[in-house]
């Protein structure tokens, strides 16, 4: 659990802010597209538009990498592709293991976008003995017993978990024990990991629930704005409209 004890200057790393790191892949994708069209240079305004961000934000992001632009002209596309790739560590090869080759795991294994950026599926791993040896996306499925061997042999440091939620923590522990230090988790489970291990999660269910929240709010707004919607019907949400326009804010007690 990530309770206290994290009393560190935090961003002691004069490195790149986390928010910036999360956007670099976005810029890289846009730049790659430009590169394929042989566009030599691009302005912050153009690139920002393509990446869907504010141009000032983009310039500030790039400023963390160094001064790679030319005032009055813009950024050299090829050069920037290289710099961002290098910064993200994409100039090297990252072997990856996928654990749990069911619906989702198989889809990921079949995903072409994997290899395109230096990520290579080193192995597919599943606990089901009947899967062993079968090929998925041209890669043989190995039994989970071999997990440690596979990781050591291939020097894998990134693991993807696509097992059912119940098995995720157990698989995670095993991955970490074997030396994995970065995990991408698709299971609906909050993984507990030791310090030094990064976990990122992708959770379809959470995303949908967030969308539902906003959807509900939009519906409530429309409803309160115009008592009767003249336009086409949009799921009149028959629920009793008990919930007013805005949740009541609890009274604040004076100190």
């Amino acid at each position: 659990m990530a309770t206290g004890r994290n009393h560190r200057p935090a961003t002691r790393s004069r490195g790149i802010p986390e928010a910036t790191v999360a956007r670099l892949p976005l810029y890289l994708r846009a730049l790659t597209a430009l590169s394929e069209r042989s566009v030599p240079t691009v302005s912050s305004e153009e690139l920002a538009s393509a990446a869907g961000v504010n141009s000032a934000k983009l310039r500030k992001d790039f400023s963390y990498l160094g001064s790679y632009g030319t005032r009055g002209v813009g950024y050299d596309v090829e050069y920037l592709v290289y710099q961002i790739s290098r910064e993200l560590g994409l100039t090297q090869d990252w072997p990856v293991v996928i654990v749990g080759i069911g619906n989702l795991g198989a889809a990921l294994a079949n995903y072409g976008g994997f290899a395109s950026r230096g990520f290579r599926v080193a192995a597919l791993i599943d606990a089901d003995p009947s899967m062993s040896g079968k090929q998925v996306a041209g890669i043989p499925v190995r039994h989970v017993d071999e997990l440690e061997t596979i990781i050591h042999t291939n020097g894998v440091s990134i693991g993807v978990i696509t097992t059912p939620g119940g098995a995720a923590q157990q698989v995670c522990d095993r991955l970490v024990a074997a030396g994995i230090t970065s995990i991408l988790n698709f299971a609906p489970t909050v993984l507990q990991v030791p310090e030094g291990v990064d976990v990122r999660k992708v959770d379809l269910s959470i995303e949908l629930q967030i969308l539902a929240f906003h959807e509900q709010r939009k519906a409530a707004e429309d409803l309160s704005r115009e008592t009767a919607a003249p336009d086409r019907m949009r799921v009149p949400a028959e629920q009793r409209g008990e919930q007013g326009p805005e949740g009541d804010v609890p009274a604040v007690m004076p100190a």
Copy 2:
């Protein structure tokens, strides 16, 4: 470019902060698990631990919903499940369409966790004529020509895009024109949508690149700390303040 002029308060909702909304599903999941074990009440400390967050943060999050706790005791599990569900809009049914029934789309269609929270797959849609009529996860695949009809008939307001990147914007435009106001995008494309439409994206490639960045940094640190690494073993890298895990960046586009 719609620069300037767009001086809208953006977070017009003085309701629940976006960061809080993103955590509510996490709490809900933990609470549901407790509920299934018939645990009557839970303290902020316990629940926070289960959800992997700071307890003060959790209490503040709940305070936005109202005062649902009892001092000295904690929160009533069932009651809280209901309140959060209601707040997220999960007490109603949300029909969803999935567009692009390839590897990923099929995996999503097969995903059981969909129905568990009020989300119902109303239709699977694909452009490939040879897919039409075929069943995926017991649901017939419909041709994209029927998209508008399907959406209107079923009152769908949430769409999931799992087409190739090149088709994503086009599909998005069509969904929006048909009345969809929330989109979950799996394609590696920055979608342009009109105001009032929420887009959230799930991007495997970006997640991996972020992990690679941190992985590279960890490797560089280890290397500089000890000039020579004896084995392939990584040392317990007591990492400095580099907070890694929850680099969550909400992806709601204000448009």
